[in-house]
């Protein structure tokens, strides 16, 4: 029996510019009704690949070679007008950021209606009915009301569902999903994935899903392809690839994902992805590969079959990798209490010339202590108040009630509400690391200037010794002394975050406040940062409060975990106990929503 004709065929696709390649000879096919996932970190070219499936190129990129065919029809090299009849009707996109992908000045209903207007022959009444029907199918409450709203009036989850409805309107045969759950809360993400799985079953559409999150792909896809530096390095059935990854990159990638069930620090991948302009001859991954041989540097391996349905691009596929064991965190010595938070409450009032809004409580009656040298994890969804607690401890948010007490080596004192009112010794003891390293480093300062500020302010280090001391700090975060003279723009995201960590340690603090510091980083880079924080904190006997929305990440690094909901702590326990035997129903639902990769 012959297999049905593939819906989508990509053959040796080459996309890039004059001197660089973003998508480098990628090929795959999509059978009707099949769901294919494309995994990769930033810079892998996966988003560009997805857009090219619709014949769309981003500014500055060109189609250089290869082809994309939908039902046998070529998609590359066509004008917008020629592709207009296919786009939205046969193949539709669910965008990464639905809030910006919707016209801000037209109502939701009108934009879904637009797809029907362009692609179907229905009259106005029939279209209106269809719109309501679609909004109902994506499980939006009160479809009529939602259709009348504007994009900015909906929540993140609602707007993503509206985007799904818009994509389904044309009754496509292939659905493209670009990071479908980015920026969504864990529970919202879980509900959305349920919806997508259900829709796929009913509508029998083919799917191509791009995500950096293997957990998401595990829920949605039958087959998976892994991309690295523009090339597809492994392709095969999802369960197989994740359970027994063949390519060293896939193995390393899977090993760098934190596991909720076992805990322990994930293993990072040494080095960083190659710049698109300086692609090494031979295998892209060779500089970072643990199994590298001489031949790997000169010869670029092609995707070749290793077993049924499973392809790998490696000269030496390792089909029996060692089982992934995450390094367990070293037990923290039971230390003296360092920070006591008692009955903390914070609310935000609106500022302006006529401030008359009632203040909203963001944090309500929160109490906990942090012991010297321990890592306390704060987990919660957006709006739970976790970042606000850090802000209050750092002196950025003024509490409306409660007390924060710092017990340093020589004296115990209550922390003043504002950072500007605190003595230098207190400011030195508590250091804050921010989420986004692009924003937390002054783009006009060199790395040495950035490190010099705390060294001079807290350590009174004389100018002559600054360079040496700064180089020491950098070596602790595993960066070379050459980085001292670079500007932040010349460093990668992971390197910038390391500089931010070095800057925090330059003050010789007692307590480190980490505000979603790995959320903006790739998974493999995240693993490196987690390992760094853990090792440095143990080495210097520094306590840390680690805030994240990702329970698996917190489990990897924290000794104790506090779960926050709507500004209150609902449960606080050791990491192991909390994850194994949760008490509070909210904690249980959070644990259920975490996407684990089947192994």
């Amino acid at each position: 029996m012959t297999a049905p004709a593939p819906k989508l065929e990509v053959e040796d696709l080459l996309v890039g510019g004059a001197e660089f390649r973003v998508v480098d000879k990628v090929s795959f096919t999509l059978a009707p009704g099949e769901s294919f996932g494309i995994a990769g970190e930033s810079g892998s070219g996966k988003s560009t690949l997805l857009l090219s499936l619709m014949g769309m190129m981003r500014q500055g990129l060109q189609h250089i070679g290869g082809s994309v065919r939908l039902n046998g029809l070529p998609m590359m090299g066509q004008t917008d007008a020629a592709l207009a009849c296919v786009r939205g009707s046969k193949i539709a996109l669910i965008p990464q950021n639905p809030a910006t992908a919707l016209n801000p000045s037209r109502r939701i209903g009108a934009q879904i209606d637009e797809v029907l207007l362009v692609h179907s022959a229905l009259n106005q009444r029939a279209r209106a009915e269809r719109v309501l029907d679609l909004l109902g199918r994506v499980r939006l409450a009160e479809p009529a009301v939602t259709a009348h709203r504007f994009a900015h009036e909906l929540s993140g989850g609602q707007v993503q569902r509206a985007a799904i409805a818009m994509a389904l309107a044309g009754e496509p045969e292939v659905l493209l999903l670009d990071e479908p759950t980015t920026g969504l809360d864990v529970t919202t993400q879980s509900a959305l994935l349920d919806l997508l799985v259900d829709l796929r079953l009913r509508a029998k559409v083919g799917m191509v899903c791009v995500s950096h999150d293997l957990g998401v792909l595990a829920r949605l896809c039958d087959r998976i392809g892994v991309m690295y530096a523009g090339a597809m390095v492994e392709e095969g059935p999802l369960a197989l690839v994740l359970a027994r990854p063949g390519h060293p990159y896939t193995q390393a990638l899977v090993a760098s994902i934190p596991r909720l069930s076992t805990g322990g620090l994930p293993s990072p991948i040494e080095g960083s992805p190659p710049a698109l302009f300086h692609l090494p001859p031979g295998c892209r991954f060779a500089p970072r590969c643990a199994l590298v041989q001489d031949a790997c540097h000169s010869q670029r391996p092609a995707l070749s079959w290793v077993e049924e349905g499973h392809k790998i691009a490696c000269l030496r596929p390792n089909m029996a990798p060692k089982p992934v064991a995450h390094r367990p965190t070293t037990a923290c010595a039971k230390g003296a209490p360092l920070l006591a938070v008692q009955g903390l409450s914070v609310s935000y009032a609106k500022q302006g010339l006529f401030a008359h809004k009632a203040p909203k409580p963001v944090v309500e009656d929160v109490s906990f202590t942090v012991v010297r040298g321990e890592v306390l994890g704060l987990v919660g969804e957006s709006g739970s108040g976790k970042s606000t607690i850090l802000a209050a401890i750092a002196g950025l948010a003024v509490p409306t009630a409660g007390q924060i007490t710092l017990m340093s080596k020589d004296r115990t004192a209550d922390l003043a509400a504002r950072a500007t009112d605190r003595p230098l010794s207190q400011l030195r003891s508590i250091q804050l690391i921010f989420q986004n390293p692009d924003a937390s480093l002054n783009p006009r300062h060199r790395v040495i200037d950035l490190l010099a500020q705390p060294l001079m302010l807290y350590g009174h280090v004389p100018r002559s010794d600054l360079r040496a001391k700064a180089a020491d700090l950098l070596s602790e975060v595993r960066l070379g002394a050459a980085t001292l003279d670079r500007m932040p723009a010349q460093l990668s995201g992971g390197e910038r975050q390391r500089v931010a960590i070095a800057r925090a340690f330059a003050a010789n603090p007692d307590l480190l406040l980490c505000d979603e510091i790995t959320t903006a980083l790739d998974v493999s880079v995240q693993a490196a940062v987690l390992e760094l924080i853990h090792d440095l904190a143990r080495k210097h006997d520094v306590a840390a409060i680690f805030v994240s929305h990702d329970l698996a990440v917190v489990r990897a690094i924290a000794d104790r975990i506090a779960v926050l909901r709507n500004g209150r702590i609902v449960e606080i326990n050791t990491a192991q106990e909390l994850c194994a035997r949760p008490v509070d129903p909210y904690t249980k639902s959070l644990l259920r929503s975490v996407l684990e990769i089947p192994t």
Binding site: M56, R87, G88, T100, A101, V118, G170, L353, F354
Partner: protein
Amino acid sequence: MVAVLLERIGLALVTMVIIAVVVFFALDLMPGDACSVTLERGASDSMLAACHARLGLDQPPLWRFITWAGDFLRGDLGISMQRERPIAEIVGWRLRNTLILAGVTSVIGIPLALGLGVLAGLNPDGPLDMAISGVAIFAMTVPEFISGTLMILLFSVVLGWAAGVVTIGYKAPAFELVKASILPAATLIFILAAHILRMVRASVIEVMQSDFVQMARLKGASRRRIIWHHVVPNALLPAISIIGLTMAWLLGGVVIVESVFNFPGLGRLAVDAVADQDLPLVQAIALLFGFIYVLTNLGADLLALTLNPRLRARRR
């Protein structure tokens, strides 16, 4: 929505109060006052004192301000020193004339600018854009008095199509004034349209790059649909607030253009008043201009509110 409306109106009123305070006290702080500049140098102290008493300048500043403001609101703008007539009388006709000039300029200039801006932005760096932008840049760099003078040179001296300088009196019927305002309005339109056009063009270019326009392409919408339903509405919305700001420029430009063309409006009156050092008159005109600007801006703000759904909800 009502709350936002009231807030805007409230802010406008506050602004007007601040303008009144500044205009009044700016002159107060300077050496000399209405009396000392009008009376001859070397006037005796008793003459000065008598003049002060007559004009009420010997009262404490705050009281003077309140009476002055109160009078203004009742329509009594004070007495012109030079012409010795109530200012309200002098200003009334000329206000009408200036409003006619500003009106003609806006009614023709704004739609023209919006249209040209959109055309230029749809094909950036294309031949149409180069032509439009080139002329716009030229218009923005050349000051009003030069373009006005060139207009007279071109249309009156060289071509002889229109009389260069306006000769009708300030009380002439409105229709005559509209005819007379053609060349001055053309000068103002030249520059006003250039400013607005550049902003609209930039807005169009930005919107063309936005995510939702790309999404519309991916939905299979035709280019025409994309332009009319997605690009134009979103590109023009911010233009409305810009139009409000350009009005301030327009009011300033009116002063110069009226002088170039001898148009009998508020601007030319102001210039004459300055030459005569007629302080109460200059003050009154400054205040009027400020109020006109605030009201126009308020109008633009309210228009933006009705058209832009995002502004209606109070910022969360």
